[in-house]
């Protein structure tokens, strides 16, 4: 469902040409849980941005659900992000002026859902992360782990094909981090693919596949046959 072939990223300035990512290919199937590891500055974020349609790539082709995204307009890409991808950020990126309900509802507003549909999706997503009773609270009133749960609910509400998680536990202590990890695994178990960038090798070990990026070179280091229950 996510097929990247010979993707490369080159940053050009007036005088310098930087190869941020060497050409690589990667296929992710429905239900995969892929961890992306590597030291800072290795190109992890660039990879994530390309996978999430946040940034353009210089070479290669990228098919998302059999659709070539290379020549899509900004509006088409926005739409694709909205409908197919759920984002989870390291620093949560909740909007402080909005309460939890409104935060989770935010991406749904860029679609043509009815108010009733939006409401049932928001409540379902918040229920899934265990925060349905705190809809009217504001982000500042929550702990970091709870905030990240809200962000996960926001990612889930639009029923995306896969989740992109950028260091989802990077700002959390280990207790909370464990909670978030098990939540992500639950979500993966119910069929949503997850692409997670992390620097924590223990967490990475919990994924089906591990992709390592080092100095812009991407290699796959672990592949576990999914045990079908």
């Amino acid at each position: 469902m996510l097929k990247m072939s010979n993707i490369a990223k080159i940053y050009l300035t007036d005088t310098v040409k930087t190869q941020a990512l060497q050409p690589f290919s990667l296929d992710i199937e429905a239900g995969d849980f892929v961890a992306v590891v590597g030291p800072s500055g290795s190109g992890k974020t660039t990879f994530l941005n390309i996978a999430g349609l946040l940034e353009d790539y210089s070479e290669g082709s990228y098919f998302l659900n059999n659709q070539d995204v290379t020549h899509l307009s900004d509006t088409q890409k926005s739409r694709l992000r909205n409908e197919q991808i759920g984002f989870i950020f390291q620093s949560f990126n909740l909007i402080p002026e909005l309460n939890l309900f409104d935060n989770v509802e935010m991406p749904l507003r860029y679609r043509t859902f009815s108010a009733k549909e939006r409401k049932s999706r928001v409540i379902e997503a918040l229920t899934q992360v265990g925060l349905a009773n705190r809809q009217t609270h504001y982000p500042q009133q929550l702990s970091g782990g709870q905030q990240q749960r809200v962000a996960i609910a926001r990612a889930l509400a639009g029923s995306p094909a896969f989740l992109l998680a950028d260091e989802p536990t990077g700002n959390l202590d280990s207790n909370m981090a464990d909670g978030i990890m098990s939540l992500l695994k639950d979500i993966n178990a119910s069929g949503t693919s997850i692409l997670m960038v992390t620097h924590d090798l223990q967490q990475a070990a919990q994924a089906d596949r591990i992709v390592e990026i080092k100095d812009g070179v991407l290699t796959e280091s672990k592949q576990v046959e999914k045990v079908v229950a």
Partner: protein, 443 residues
């Protein structure tokens, strides 16, 4: 420590140049607008004879037509602000005030005796009496006023304004030199120094903000010469007067002369008014003054108010400008909010390393003071520029109205600093409330 805050403030201003520029510019524009209008208004409403204005009075008599009132003002009958020749000379002869003066008007062709006839120019004269100068604190550069005997004889002598002396005698000490006024020789006995009473309260409203006339001659000499000009002052008549010459005017009930008195103290006002009323009763017995008697004396401030000398447009403009300043300050305040909010991380860090709320407040206070100072300085320049433009636009008003004195300049800077700090209080308060933890966590 203050120096450190100052340095931080300068750094911060330089770091966000556009934001700082917007803040300073808005304050400057608001302050400039307010100070321009305020300066004009302040200059217009100054006391024209400081220390004396409560002892100088103009006298108005009910000498008008028994059948029809003089005019209506604010729904009430009003009496003339001018006096008849008979009444002015009667009161003047009585000499019941500490000082008194008759103020008349005339215009004639004037040149110095040395100039050829062709160089004579039409000039507005001020026939008056000798105490005019001491009553209004008129400063002399050369010579002195004429005396009472010159008034009674109507001597052909003249006092020149400084400007007129420059035109006629190139500014030399012209005492004893001769001026030809309407074909008659007048000898110079005095030259005035700079003299610009604003408002020029002792005459008609339309002349309030123009320069005083350039030649002063004894009133009696204008009478002796049969000088009559109906076109450079006002003559109001009733009862079908036939104004073909001065004798007709003198004998008529037409009003045309201003009459001012100086009393030894403001408390003598009632006594003097009582005297005026007794005079009116005497005249009534003689068959004049048949209307209801509304005689009055008005001091300088009262007459300025009565004459509506101060333009109400000017006062409205001050209010408009002040509202404008508030709009500007609200704008600056929201810019400050944005600015200090943007520095949340810095505040959090400083708080974390041990700065107290007061320290933070001092730092930002320093910044608002600098912004206020800069706004005030630029505002001052803008205001001076604006006043220059204003004096071009309002060319009919004396340019002296559009000049700032030192205290107004200081007021400009001071009010800018005050305004920016007052409107900075809330943003500073908000900035101090930032918790050290909250900002660091999100980094």
């Amino acid at each position: 420590m203050l120096l450190y805050y100052f340095k931080l403030a300068m750094l911060s201003i330089r770091k966000t140049p556009l934001l700082s520029f917007l803040m300073i510019a808005t304050i400057a524009i608001g302050i400039a607008a307010t100070m321009i209008t305020y300066t004009v208004n302040y200059m217009m409403t100054q006391d024209p004879v400081p220390g004396k204005s409560d002892r100088l009075f103009t006298v108005h008599l009910s000498s008008w037509d028994p059948n029809v009132g003089y005019r209506m003002k604010d729904g009430k009958e009003d009496i003339p602000i001018f006096m008849t020749y008979q009444d002015a000379t009667n009161l003047y002869t009585d000499q019941r005030a500490h000082k008194q003066t008759i103020i008349s008007f005339h215009k004639a062709m004037v040149r110095s005796a040395a100039q050829p006839r062709g160089q004579a120019t039409m000039t507005y004269l001020r026939p008056t009496t000798h105490e005019f100068f001491s009553m209004l604190n008129v400063p002399f550069l050369y010579g002195s006023p004429w005396d009472a005997s010159d008034d009674s004889q109507g001597s052909q002598i003249v006092v020149l304004s400084k400007k007129k002396n420059e035109q006629l005698f190139q500014g030399e000490n012209s005492l004893g030199r001769e001026v030809v006024i309407g074909g008659l020789i007048y000898r110079v006995v005095g030259v005035l120094d700079e003299w610009l009473p604003l408002p020029r309260f002792y005459t008609e409203r339309s002349d309030s903000y123009s320069e005083p006339r350039g030649l002063f001659v004894p009133f009696q000499s204008s009478i002796n010469n049969d000088w009559l000009s109906g076109t450079d002052g006002s003559v109001y008549c009733w009862g079908g007067a036939d104004l073909i010459d001065l004798n007709a005017l003198k004998a008529s009930e037409c009003v045309w002369l201003f009459y001012w008195v100086e009393l030894a103290s403001a408390e003598l006002r009632d006594d003097y008014l009582a005297y005026i009323n007794r005079y009116a009763q005497e005249q009534k017995a003689l068959g004049r003054f048949q209307r209801e008697q509304m005689n009055r004396v008005m001091n300088v401030a009262e007459f300025i108010e009565y004459n509506e000398v101060v333009n109400k447009d000017g006062r409205i403009a001050v209010w408009l400008a002040m509202a404008f300043l508030i709009a500007c300050l609200l704008n600056t305040m929201s810019l400050m909010m944005t600015k200090f909010h943007g520095k949340g991380a810095e505040v959090g860090l400083r708080r974390a390393v041990g700065a107290s709320k007061v320290d933070i407040a001092r730092q930002f206070f320093c910044e608002t003071v600098i912004i206020g100072l800069a706004g005030g300085a630029i505002g001052l320049v803008l205001a001076l520029l604006g006043l220059y433009v204003t004096s071009e636009v309002y060319s009919h008003l004396h340019a002296g109205l559009m000049e700032m004195n030192l205290s107004l300049m200081l007021l400009t800077i001071g009010s800018s600093v005050l305004a920016s700090t007052v409107f900075g209080l809330y943003p500073i308060y908000k900035a101090c409330q930032i918790q050290p933890s909250s900002q660091l966590k999100s980094l």
